[in-house]
Symmetry: C2
Subunit: 204 residues, 2 copies
DNA sequence: GTGGCTTTGTGAATGTGAGCACAAGCACAA
DNA sequence: TTGTGCTTGTGCTCACATTCACAAAGCCAC
C-alpha cells in the first residue's frame, strides 16, 4: 500500500489482535484467516485485513496470517515488544484492584510502582509493590517508567498528572472523571465507567 | 434542524455535558456559553452546539445555555431522569470497588444488586448491599433492574451475560477482556483497561 | 506444470462525524 | 424603537473510517 496515515481507530484495535493472537497461540493454532479472526472479534474481515496491511504484508494468500509472527510484529509496532513499565497513582479501591490485576502482562505492560499521598498507606504493600510517597516521582525516569495510571479523586488528578509529566511520563491512562491539561507530546487516554454506563438507558 | 439521525458519538458525549452542567449548578452558575463549556471539556464550541441542537433548541442567543434546565433536558433524553438500577456481577477486586463507587449517582444510576457465584462470598455485605447467588437473577426484572455490569473473569462473562439477558437486562457494561454475544436489542459497552493502556507506547 | 480453490492486499465507493462560517435571534442600552 | 454586541443553530465542506469488490498470489492435488 502506498503511503497512508494510519487511522487512530486502527491503532485502537491493534491490542485486540494481540490478545486474540495470544489466545490462539495458547490453543496451538498456527495460522488464522481474517474471516476466522473477524468472527471471534465481531469485526468484518476486510477491516482486519486493511488494519494489518497498513503495516505491510502479514499473511499468506490462500492460508491466512501466521499466529505467532503476526503477534510479534504487532507488538513491535505498538512498542510492546519491550516491557513497558507504568506507575499507578492512587492506592484506593480501584487502584489496588488495578495493582494486582494480571491482565496487563499480555501486552508486556507492568505496574512497576505505586504512589499515594496518604501517609498511613505509604510503606504498606499491595501485591509485591510498596506504596511510595509522591516525592518518589523524581525517581521514575531513572527506573525506566514512562507510563502512568491515575486512580485518584478527580480533584487531585490534574495535580498528579502535572507531577508525572514533570517526571518524564509520556503516556497517561486517566481513570478519574475529569479532563486533563498536558503538553501535547504527552498522550492521554481516559476511561470513565459512569459515563459508559450512563449511555445505556438511551439505547434500551 | 431537519430530520437527522443522531450520531452515536453525540450520545457518547452527552453524559459529559450532564456532568459538567451538574458541576456548574453546584458552583451556582446560571448560564454557560458553548465556548466556556468547550474550554472546560476540551471540545470545540460548534461541536457542543451541534450536539445539543440535534435535540432541539436549548440555548438563548447572545446568552448561552441555561445550566439547570439544559441538564434536566439532557438527562431526560438519556432516560437518566428516572433512577436507573443496575446489577453488578462479580464481587472481586474490581467489583467491590465499583460497588462502593459513589460516582454513578450524578447520572441517576444506582448499583442495586450484587451477584457472585462464590459460596463463601454470598450473604456477606459490600457497602449496604448483600451479595446474592446467581439464582437471584430471576428476581431482577421484578426489582426494576434493567442494566448490568460484568466484573467477572473473561471465561465467565458470556455465561453471566446470558443469564442477565434471560433475566430481562437490556444494557450491559462489560469490564472483562472479551467479546459478548447478545441479542441485538441488548446494548453492550465494553471497557478494557489493559487495551487502553496498551496503545500508549505507540504514541509515546 | 497446470488448474482450481482459498485468502490476502488494496483502490474505490460509501458512510459517518467534525469543523467552519455565517445568518438568525435575543438582550439590553440608549 | 432602534442599534449594538454577543451567541446560538445549521448548511456545507472536508477529513476520517468502514465496507465492498476484485485482482494478485500462494497452496495443493493430480
Ligand atoms: N472505584 C471505582 O469503581 C471507580 C469507577 C470509576 C471511576 N473511578 C475513579 O477512580 C478514582 C479512584 O477511585 P477509588 O474508588 O479508588 O477512590 P479511593 O478514594 O478509594 O482512592 C483514592 C486514592 O487516591 C489517593 N490520593 C488522593 N489524592 C492523592 C494525591 N494528590 N496524590 C496521590 N494519591 C492521592 C488516596 O489516598 C486514595 O488512596 C476516582 O477518580 C474515581 O472517580 C473509580
Ligand atoms: N482488577 C482490575 O483492575 C481489572 C482491570 C481490567 C479488567 N478487569 C477485568 O474485570 C474482571 C474482574 O476482575 P477482578 O480483578 O475483580 O477479578 P477477581 O478474580 O478479583 O473477581 C472475580 C469475581 O467474579 C466472581 N465470579 C467468577 N465466576 C463467576 C460467575 N460465573 N458468576 C458470578 N461470579 C463469578 C468470583 O467469585 C470473583 O468474586 C476480569 O474479567 C478482569 O479481567 C479487572
Amino acid at each position: 500500500m502506498k503511503y497512508h496515515k494510519i487511522p487512530d481507530e486502527t491503532i485502537r484495535r491493534m491490542p485486540l489482535y494481540v490478545r486474540a493472537l495470544a489466545l490462539l497461540e495458547q490453543e496451538g493454532q498456527e495460522t488464522i484467516s481474517s474471516r476466522q479472526l473477524a468472527e471471534r472479534l465481531r469485526l468484518n474481515p476486510p477491516q482486519i485485513r486493511k488494519d494489518l496491511s497498513y503495516f505491510g504484508a502479514f499473511g499468506t494468500r490462500g492460508i491466512g496470517y501466521p499466529v505467532i509472527s503476526t503477534a510479534r510484529r504487532i507488538r513491535a509496532i505498538l512498542r510492546l515488544d519491550v516491557p513497558q513499565k507504568a506507575v499507578l497513582v492512587g492506592a484506593g479501591r480501584l487502584g489496588t484492584a488495578i495493582a494486582v490485576y494480571p491482565g496487563f502482562s499480555v501486552f508486556g505492560l507492568e505496574i512497576a510502582a505505586i504512589i499515594d499521598n496518604n501517609p498511613t498507606k505509604i510503606g504498606s504493600r499491595v501485591g509485591r509493590l510498596e506504596i511510595e510517597h509522591i516525592a518518589a516521582a523524581a525517581t521514575l525516569k531513572a527506573r525506566g517508567i514512562r507510563l502512568g495510571l491515575l486512580a485518584v479523586p478527580a480533584e487531585a488528578a490534574q495535580g498528579c498528572a502535572d507531577v508525572l509529566v514533570q517526571a518524564g511520563v509520556k503516556g497517561l491512562l486517566n481513570l478519574a472523571p475529569c479532563c486533563l491539561d498536558v503538553p501535547k507530546q504527552v498522550k492521554v487516554v481516559s476511561i470513565d465507567m459512569a459515563m459508559a454506563l450512563g449511555v445505556l438507558p438511551y439505547y434500551v
